[in-house]
Symmetry: D2
Subunit: 109 residues, 4 copies
């Protein structure tokens, strides 16, 4: 199965999608929600592109390199934003984003 | 983290999405592709709803029960179609679909 | 083309998706963002299911009725939340949601 | 409303998504389905990225340029494949893809 060679990237994308969606969900419940607006926004951007790329890789898309390049950029920007906030969900999300950005860079031709 | 109580369902959805997309990809390469048209179609339906529900659960959607009910139905229909074909990717997909349908049924209120 | 019989529903879904995403975007910029948390959340739920159903109808999904039933429910809940807020984007979104809910109900078998 | 400046691109993306999904649906019913495998595959790639970019623009994504660049490439490849086939749905899809590719190129910084 050709998608098996991408197992570590699929795992990184999946973990990043889950972490971003959890961070989004948790940010919407925080008292300092006004501080979290950019984080909420980037969490959604990042969750959606990771979910997209996961599906695209697993269906044998011919556009892995192009999509992975965009995904790496979005993960990096989301991770940089999350890193600024002390909430545990933000810190965990930042880690998942940075790991995913590295995984995606390996897919860029 | 509230999404952690759904870990087994998230895993089942993720495995089903991957299996359906792989089956779709492989069906498109089969010599008997004319026989596989319904399988290709249902693989996409099933991969997309599983990917959708995975994201929805992880972002704390208030609509888990309604979405899981639809997902269980689509998984069941996809699994029933895949079961009819001897290709290994179809048989594996049928198993993932049936496991996911069971996981989804537990989410229906 | 079979999807043409669904033109009015496709239009309603498309308009609702655009309105929900715009409302989400605008809510994240409001001064009273803490008041808008539920609206932000439901906007995303609603935009995503409308986008999903639009695609599903246009690809000839066999699951229109089931998906439209869920979509009608989510549109109604999003519309009810948006209606509570005076922002123009919320009021416009509420209208689009209610119109879309009605359009979806016509698709339920 | 900031997404209104993108109205022509949103329309092109929407029409391309609908045309690709219809072409996918119709290809799966063709007698010469074996000839259409690549078209089916690219139709899904193209419908999914157009649907994605439509949503991303309407939610105010900061990544329009990067996503539009990928979308333009996928639309072009899908349009080039569709152009090879005489089926009316393929010819119409090719037109929608090429128009969408041009629209996307205007979004690349």
């Amino acid at each position: 199965m050709s998608h098996e060679q991408y197992q570590s990237q699929l795992d990184a994308l999946h973990e990043c999608m889950i972490a971003c969606n959890h961070c989004y969900d948790a940010c919407l419940e925080e008292d300092d929600i006004a501080m979290m607006a950019k984080c909420i926004r980037l969490d959604r951007e990042c969750a959606d592109i990771c979910a997209y790329l996961e599906q695209a890789i697993s269906r044998g898309t011919p556009f892995i390199s192009e999509l992975a390049e965009v995904c790496a950029k979005i993960c990096t920007e989301c991770g940089n934003e999350c890193k600024k906030h002390d909430h545990e969900h933000c810190q965990k999300c930042a880690e998942a984003c940075m790991a995913c950005a590295e995984a995606c860079k390996k897919l860029v031709a």
